[in-house]
């Protein structure tokens, strides 16, 4: 990864160049630099075929503006609005200047991520006025949904403008789960920060813990023992398997094949139980720590995972056949929530839904961190971009993860050393970690403070990029297909709301 400080002109130019070269925006965040130099800073991380690029732009305290890049990367829009809410830096000339993560709990003249912000509970509240876009015309009406949804789901608000059953427009309003995670990181020790990072989005705890650990290790300039790296990959693939199994079950359930839910959730439960038996936690929380891993795998326990792989391969082949041959299921899957590849490219759709719309990006393939550089991951892609394509990619990735698990087991040759001691981090340093989680690329950036604590930590979820795409995927579909389409993406609310 290359990291450079740039001025405003160069910042725009480099972003435009990455855009021209077919690259993507990964994350955009800000930091309060008034303690160490004048003003604030805005950071972006980008990827292109050439590699990863991270830019830091100084922003003056007197006039906290920076150049808008949402014209190049539409996904930047919500990230820029979040930076305005939390830090008070504004993207000059951006089309959409509405608030995003801020609702009514603090006023628009205080900024939680500024160091002089008073993190006590008392801030004046206001009424939460938000300018939804209104659609008018003959026969158009609105359905507001949420924040509390009708199932076991995270909270968020969806506003549908419809004619009959057909959706003309969907507008999302998120931020309901904002609980001040980035502020909480301030002042935490490296170890405390690792625990918090693992709880940004509980279903991706392995991905976040690894990305955080990677950022810490890059600042501390250490490389964890081989054994630990192989175990991390094992954990990440197990997280992918568990989540994909759960989603395949729910996708069946959403098209009235409750048999699918029953079957896939039996398989998922077996994976979770093996996690608990072998590693001490069903979702592997806190098993990855800065410097290595907290738990090893006994050589005699390899057999348990091998048997699990064989069982899953057998059952998945059978269930895949049933899904593919079921006319009712396919009728609902095919063509629903289609995101055509050119639209996906324009909006920066990433991760699993990206690959189902011909966006061939997978960190494990293009920029493999150890041990993925030794694993030769086969990327699963599809070009139809509908629910059926996302189901197909999930099946392909399940089989690939099972193959990877077996490869990883071969390479786990034992050894007592599971982690290195991470000493005090150097002060005022910068590190970044990036991992291909089951949803897509999870990134954690750390700017250590003067005393060597993590200080400013920015966790980034791929859902930032993908939520806006659902607003497009639903257009011209019918309202009853929304739960199915939404589930086929299965994005994180917690990871986006922070």
């Amino acid at each position: 990864m290359r990291h450079g400080r740039v001025d405003a002109t160069r910042f725009r130019d480099l972003c435009a160049q990455v855009h021209r070269d077919g690259g993507r925006l990964v994350a955009l965040w800000g930091s309060d630099e008034r303690a160490r130099e004048a003003g604030y800073a805005l950071h972006v991380s980008l990827v292109s075929a050439d590699g990863m690029l991270c830019l830091t732009l100084a922003v003056s305290a007197e006039q906290p503006d920076y150049p808008d890049i949402s014209d190049l990367f539409p996904a930047a829009s919500r990230m820029q609005r979040a930076v305005a809410d939390l830090l008070g830096l504004h993207a000059g000339g951006a089309d959409d200047q509405r608030k995003w993560l801020r609702h009514a709990s603090w006023p628009d003249y205080v900024y939680p991520l500024r160091k002089d912000f008073d993190d006590s509970c008392a801030h004046p509240t206001e009424t939460d006025a938000y300018g939804f876009v209104t659609v008018t015309g003959d026969g158009v009406h609105e359905i507001p949904v949420g924040p509390v949804h009708a199932g076991i789901i995270e909270p968020g608000h969806f506003r549908f403008s419809i004619i009959g059953d057909r959706v003309l427009r969907l507008e999302e309003r998120l931020g309901y789960k904002h609980k001040g995670i980035e502020k909480r990181f301030e002042g935490m020790s490296t170890e405390q920060g690792a625990k918090l990072a693992g709880r940004v989005s509980g279903d991706s705890t392995v991905a976040y813990a690894w990305a955080y650990a990677m950022a810490v290790e890059s600042i501390a300039a250490i490389t964890p023992p081989d054994q630990a790296l192989w175990l991390r990959a094992l954990f990440l693939e197990r997280e992918r398997i568990a989540n994909h199994l759960g989603d395949q079950g729910y996708l069946g359930n959403d098209v009235a094949l409750s048999f699918g839910f029953a079957q896939f959730w039996i398989l998922k439960e077996q994976v979770l139980r093996n996690n608990a038996a072998l590693f001490g936690h069903r979702y592997l929380m806190d098993r990855i720590i800065p410097g290595g891993v907290a738990v090893g795998l006994k050589m005699q326990d390899k057999r348990v995972i091998e048997e699990e792989c064989s069982m899953l391969e057998r059952e998945l082949s059978l269930l895949r056949g049933i899904y593919e041959e079921h006319a009712g299921v396919q009728d609902r899957f095919i063509g629903a929530g289609r995101v055509a590849p050119p639209l996906a490219a324009q909006l920066g759709l990433c991760g699993l839904p990206g690959r189902a719309s011909a966006q061939a990006w997978d960190m494990r393939v293009q920029f493999p961190c150890a041990p993925y550089d030794k694993l030769n991951v086969r990327m699963a892609t599809h070009h139809n971009g509908d629910v059926a394509a996302r189901v197909t990619v999930r099946f392909d990735e399940l089989f690939e993860s099972l193959r990877l698990q077996r490869e990883i087991l071969i390479n786990l040759i034992g050894g007592d050393e599971l982690s290195l001691l991470v000493k005090q981090l150097p002060g005022n340093a910068f590190g970044i970690g990036m991992v291909e989680g089951w949803r897509g690329e999870v990134m954690v950036a750390i700017h250590s403070d003067a005393s060597g604590k993590p200080g400013r930590v920015h966790p980034h979820d791929p859902s930032w990029q993908n939520w806006p795409v659902i607003e497009h995927a639903i257009i011209n579909n019918i309202v009853p297909d929304f739960p199915l389409i939404n589930k086929s993406f299965n994005l994180s609310y917690a990871g986006q709301d922070l």
Binding site: S105, P112, C121, V148, K179, G246, L319, S492, D497
Partner: protein, 181 residues
């Protein structure tokens, strides 16, 4: 169809024995009369509310519906509206942005009602709560802390996340009479 039936027969019944109630999980003395509980306990409806969790607790709540825990087999069902519910199963901490929605959901639930707070964060605000001048209630600019800071809680189940067995135990405790007086 033949494949589906064959697979169902091959899978068989996986449901395991449910756990016993645990009075240690009780926050409040039992408020509902035994007579009411006897009826509720055989056909309990639950409305789940995520008031700001990391989504970890939700994974385990989903798992309650799988064939191993088969919570519906005990007559316990998740419903789509608080107006249909006897119990709110709330995960947290309660973000300030969800405070009103949670209060409204509570108000919309008809009496008699029960509340189970889920997870370490639901019990005390968890990792998201700073030790600040707001005392030990675990509040911050964005979080109201534990569920009990916002609505009355009957039973609280710790864990990060609590396992499905612990969740079942908490739900069964809430609908069993007894406990602290």
């Amino acid at each position: 169809m033949y494949q589906i039936i064959k697979q169902i027969l091959k899978t068989g019944i996986r449901t395991e024995t449910p756990p016993q109630p645990d009075d240690a999980l009780r926050v409040e003395a039992q408020r509902l009369q035994q007579q009411i509980l006897r009826h509720v306990g055989r056909a309990l409806t639950i409305r789940h509310v995520d008031a700001g969790s990391c989504n970890g607790c939700e994974l385990e709540i989903h798992a309650l519906n799988n064939a191993y825990y088969n919570i519906e087999g005990l007559g316990i069902r998740f419903v789509a509206s608080p107006r249909h519910a006897d119990m709110l199963l709330v995960t947290g901490p309660v973000s300030r942005h969800m405070e009103i929605a949670l209060r409204r959901t509570y108000d919309a639930t008809p009496e008699p009602k029960l509340v189970v707070a889920v997870g370490d964060c639901g019990c005390d605000g968890g990792l998201f709560s700073p030790n600040n001048s707001c005392g030990d209630k675990g509040e911050s600019y964005a979080s109201c802390g534990r569920i009990a800071n916002v609505i009355p809680v009957d039973v609280a189940v710790p864990g990060c996340p609590p396992t499905p067995i612990m969740l079942m135990q908490a739900i069964l405790t809430a609908i069993t009479s007894g406990g602290k007086t």
